[in-house]
């Protein structure tokens, strides 16, 4: 755990998130006070730009630059939006920050309001995060009471207030234009950028959209200085990143590590290695539309650019570890299932293309794949990435393309040999009874849910492959190891 540096998560689990005093005791609202009394908006933006902070929601756009663009647009009203529509399965860093340190986000949004010229902030949060919503409301009431939010903040004449907007859990609403349309009461689907929200966003007004984790970094940067922040991380990715470790790893949960930490350090040192001492096979980063990294990537420093170069992405920081029991074709299919479900349906490559990708993967895992299908996967995946309207479609084929690149032989086995080496694809498996080992106890037959096993008492039994649904109940019950998977 020594390799961790907690910036975004600095207060989580340390302070009582329902007590503003706790937050203040740990330098909370100090940055806001300094900003409002000593710094011009331009100066704050300059600090942020020099710090090298990039968007933590997935895109990695330089935060200071975004703030600057929003500031420069002339408008009678601007908005600050906090994207708390955390949608990647298994990722919960935003939720942890909002539940454990809500004031850090409120403080950063207020600073953003001061810098961009916005008087109104909106937090777009999943309605499935009731505790986070509750804590935010408590925090907002406390900071209003203490003059840290609302009219005339800290007596400086600066006005800024924050409201909450609820999302209904559509993955695509994490895309900033879709998020904005959802807040406007419109269908949650993206629109073509430009115009970027910084120029034309919520209600057609300039809107600065940043993710929870991005905001949580801001007060610390201002307190400790950009030099300190920029000293952490790699050349083009500064600071830390929170990852949600999951899968076949010993220590699951959130970790915050400096950018540039290698996959090996995260998985084997912090994560405690693979469960049951099995062999590492792949790590999927970047949520459902990230790619799969392999052993050859273990010593690559993790940052925005390296991940993209490796065919994956940072995303919001999901990191799912797989071992030799995971079939990479089935994994690709699993992730596609998610994007097919979550596509908004607006653009044809994402709406139809992902569906077709998923169907072809289904065909392959069922043992009906052909070499032509492999070509189709590659062409479709490339075209979907190249032509889709928003980030969802532009990344959804990543699991397919990266597994095709890194685990081509597994695809070949499924297609040519009709075999799944990880014994995951049920259609490619056969449960067989070894006659020599079977003593005819009938236990398997009695436990088979579809009566696929027949045989006389004390005689070797037999599995009817036509009837078998490959549930594995027989193998589990057999006391004599007489049942094997072919």
């Amino acid at each position: 755990m020594a390799k961790q540096i907690r910036i975004a998560l600095r207060n989580c689990g340390v302070i009582d998130p329902e007590r503003i005093e706790d937050y203040i005791a740990r330098d909370g609202y100090m940055a806001l006070a300094t900003v409002l009394t000593e710094l011009t908006p331009e100066a704050v933006i300059e600090i942020l730009k020099k710090s090298g902070l990039r968007g933590r929601g997935g895109g990695g756009f330089p935060a200071g630059l975004k703030w600057e663009i929003t500031r420069k647009v002339q408008a009678d009203q601007k908005y600050v939006v906090c994207n708390a529509d955390e949608g990647d399965p298994g990722a919960f860093m935003d939720r942890s920050i909002l539940e454990g340190d809500p004031h850090s986000v409120l403080e950063a949004m207020t600073i953003n309001g001061y810098c961009t010229g916005a008087s109104k902030g909106l937090i777009y949060i999943r309605a499935e995060y009731p505790l986070a919503v509750e804590r935010l409301k408590t925090a907002m009431a406390q900071s209003r009471e203490m003059g840290l939010l609302g009219e005339n903040i800290l007596g400086t004449g600066f006005n800024f207030d924050i409201d909450i907007r609820y999302g209904a859990g559509a993955f695509v609403c994490g895309e900033e234009t879709a998020l904005i349309h959802s807040m406007e009461g419109l269908r949650g689907e993206p629109t073509v950028k430009p115009p970027f929200p910084s120029v034309e966003g919520y209600l057609k007004k300039p809107t600065n959209v940043n993710n929870v984790e991005t905001f949580a970094n801001v007060p610390v940067i201002l307190n400790k200085g950009w030099e300190w922040f920029a000293s952490i991380g790699t050349e083009r990715s500064k600071g830390t990143k929170v990852f949600a470790l999951a899968g076949k790893i010993n220590n699951v949960g959130l970790v915050e590590v400096p950018m540039g930490t290698t996959l090996r350090e995260v998985i084997f040192e912090i994560g405690g290695g693979i469960q049951h001492g099995r062999e590492f096979k792949a790590a999927q980063t970047g949520g459902p539309s990230g790619g799969c990294l392999t052993k050859k990537h273990l010593d690559t420093p993790i940052d925005y650019d390296n991940l993209i170069a490796a065919g994956s992405m940072m995303g919001s920081g999901g990191l799912i570890v797989m071992d030799e029991d995971d079939c990479m074709v089935a994994i690709a299919k699993f992730y596609l299932e998610f994007t097919v479900e979550e596509s908004c349906g607006k653009c044809s490559p994402c709406r139809i293309g992902n569906k077709r990708l998923h169907e072809i993967l289904g065909k392959i895992t069922q043992g009906n794949g052909t070499m032509e299908d492999i070509d189709k996967l590659r062409n479709l995946g490339t075209v979907i990435k190249d032509t889709s309207l928003c980030g969802l479609g532009q990344s959804s084929p990543n699991p397919v393309l990266s597994t095709l690149d890194n685990f081509y032989d597994e695809y070949m086995e499924h297609v040519k040999d009709k075999k799944c080496r990880s014994k995951v694809c049920k259609s490619l498996m056969q449960y067989l009874i070894i006659a020599d080992k079977c003593i005819g106890c009938t236990l398997c037959a009695r436990n088979c849910p579809v009566n696929a096993i027949s045989g006389e008492r004390k005689q070797a039994h037999f599995i009817d492959q036509e009837k078998c649904i490959k549930c594995g109940a027989c193998m589990e019950k057999c006391k004599f190891n007489a049942i094997i998977i072919n």
Binding site: A170, R187, E189, T191, V192, P194, V340, E341, E342, S343, C344, G345, K346, C347, S348, P349, R351, I352, G353, N354, K355, R356, E359, K376, N379, L380, V383, K385, D386, T387, S388, L389, Q394
Partner: protein, 590 residues
């Protein structure tokens, strides 16, 4: 205006900033294919959701391909519209769209006019490599429009028309991902939605997902029935567009050929809705003058402005959206519905034909007319005044199916008495035409003076909302004109808020008026076609010997022989109607 220089396929283009790559490419002779993109130039109608991704191009330095319809030019940009990356992507995207589209071209109502079909031809698609599940939806038939959204490609044009242009709000995208489709709320039937049947969704749908309810089979059966006398009436806008279906240039007037074709089809009497339009002017003009006179005398109860009521899409619109204002529009029926009772109760009785044995067919540029003629208040003991309404497109199909070589037909004349019409009635087919016709008559009736200059040019044009003041010999009459229901909504809201100072307002539901109606030959986004149709009607008007409705000798005879006087008792019975509050009928679950 700042000019931007860029290179497209090696050619240098110089265009104003904020120009799309699509339009910039056109300036150097490059035609990038599009599917969801749609524009009616000069009419402020544009659809570019960037959804189909067929128009993608490569922009040097950009990670992914860019939609040409939605990407603005930038100085020094290098664009490739047909390199191998682009061609492969475009073709794959089209193959994907086709893989979720029923291969029913042989029997599809849109075959031949389908933009998806022609794009598949243009790109030379000979097989669809990506086969898989196809989305299936319930087919929805309303009185005028059929939704067969298995064929929907999510171009969102209909949604844009219905919401942004017409502000009707009947259609929007529902569901997510593969099941996403454009439908009424909760995927209820169109009939239960606030749909006005204006048919603008049909007129812009690139595929066969939205088509009209086809009544030509009923008409063929009626024509074949020896016990029936079949009478046909043709709306003014039809003659200015029908020729397009036979390869004639847009704006070609085919009045005579159309009459000849209808006669060959076997109609017993070929009449003109224009006759009924003259009648409408007599009734509506009289109503206007009556309200105006009472208003000028200080009658506080009188409602002004008077709104025209010829357009059934518009009538549906205010019944749904402004039911509290339904006493403002004229009570005069539309020309189609005036023609019906005159044909059955006057002409039929004169000939001794029982109304049950007379079938009245109308040829209309409109789909809302199909609904209008089915309204209960336009029936006598269940017998509709107008039995069937066919669109311009349906008539063209009927002519083609009947082996009639349209282009070689010699011109023929309408039958009398219901075929005689004036120039005033011809221009009913275009925005501003009804009110111009009304002014020609109202002026003379009010001032008792002869109107020398019959062309009210100030009432013509294609601007969304137009205002003009007409001098009634010292009395300034303020006229408002709106075409497109969104524009109508603005005018109505002004009236409701007391901001309007008009005496009379003309409203047509479709952009351009009936010439741009939902039943007209598909214009595929070419607004020039709509303009040419308008000028054709003005040409026909200018060439007519009589150009004022009240001077139509057969109209005069009709009043003498039958109706008595305009807005008289019989008129009220046969030629006027009342409106309903339909706001509550919306969103009712089946």
């Amino acid at each position: 205006m700042n000019m931007v220089k860029l290179i497209i396929d090696g050619k240098t283009a110089e265009v104003p900033e904020n120009t799309t790559l699509l339009k910039a490419a056109k300036t150097v002779g490059i035609d990038i294919p599009t599917l969801c993109y749609f524009e009616l130039k000069d009419m402020n109608i544009e659809n570019r959701p960037g959804g189909c991704r067929v128009c993608v191009v490569e922009v040097k330095g950009r990670r992914n391909l860019a939609p040409a319809c939605n990407t603005m030019v930038a100085e020094g940009m290098e664009v490739y519209t047909h390199n191998i990356r682009v061609l492969n992507a475009r073709r794959t995207v089209l193959e994907l769209i086709l893989s979720d589209h029923p291969a029913e071209c042989l029997t599809c109502a849109k075959s031949g006019s389908c933009e998806l079909q022609s794009m598949a031809q243009q790109l030379g698609v000979r097989e669809i490599p990506y086969q898989g599940e196809q989305s299936k939806y319930r087919k929805d038939t309303s009185p005028a429009i059929i939704r067969d959204v298995d064929k929907c490609i999510m171009c969102r044009r209909c949604e844009m028309m219905c919401n942004d242009v017409q502000t009707v709000g009947a259609l929007s995208a529902v569901n997510r991902g593969f099941m996403a489709v454009v439908a009424p709320a909760f995927e209820m039937n169109l009939e239960k939605s606030p749909c006005t049947y204006c048919g603008q969704c049909v007129s812009v749908c690139p595929t066969g997902a939205l088509t009209e309810v086809d009544h030509s089979r009923n008409v063929i059966n009626a024509l074949a029935d020896p016990t029936k006398t079949v009478v046909v009436q043709t709306a003014p806008a039809v003659r200015a567009a029908l020729g397009e279906e036979f390869g004639l240039a847009p704006g070609t007037l085919v009045t005579g050929k159309m009459v000849a074709a209808l006669r060959r089809l076997g109609f017993d009497y070929v009449f003109d809705t224009d006759f009924a339009a003259d009648l409408t002017i007599m009734e509506e003009g009289t109503e206007l003058l009556d309200r105006l006179t009472r208003y000028l005398k200080g009658d506080k109860d009188v409602k002004l402005p008077i709104l025209t009521s010829c357009c059934p899409g518009w009538v549906n619109f205010f019944e749904h959206n402004f039911p509290e204002m339904r006493d403002i529009p004229s009570t005069a029926k539309s020309p189609q519905q005036m023609f019906g009772p005159i044909a059955k109760e006057y002409f039929g009785k004169k000939l001794g034909i029982d109304r049950k044995n007379m079938i009245v067919v109308s040829i209309m540029p409109c789909l809302a007319k199909k609904y209008e003629c089915q309204r209960d208040e336009f029936k006598v003991d269940g017998d509709p005044d107008v039995n069937y309404s066919l669109s311009t497109r349906e008539l063209a199909h009927l002519i083609k199916a009947s082996n009639i070589d349209f282009n070689s037909l010699p011109a023929d004349d309408f039958d009398n008495p219901l075929g005689e019409s004036t120039g005033a009635s011809v221009i009913f087919g275009t925005t501003g035409g009804v009110i111009e016709a009304a002014c020609r008559t109202a002026y003379e009736l009010y001032t008792k003076k002869k109107l020398e200059k019959v062309d009210f040019k100030e009432l013509r044009g294609l601007e969304n909302v137009r205002h003009a003041t007409i001098d009634f010999d010292g009395l300034p009459i303020n006229i408002g004109i709106a075409h497109g229901l969104g524009n109508a909504r603005k005018l109505l809201e002004d009236i409701r808020d007391g901001k309007s100072h008009f005496h009379a307002i003309e409203i047509m539901a479709c952009p351009g008026g009936c010439i741009g109606g939902g039943g007209q030959p598909y214009h595929h986004g070419d607004s020039e076609i709509i303009k040419l149709r308008a000028s054709a009607l003005y040409r026909e008007d200018a060439g007519k010997p009589i150009r004022k409705s009240h001077e139509n000798p057969f109209i005069q005879e009709l009043y003498r022989e039958f109706l008595g006087k305009p807005c008289g008792e019989l008129s009220h019975h046969l030629l006027h109607t009342h409106y309903f509050d339909k706001s509550a009928g919306v969103f009712v679950e089946e």
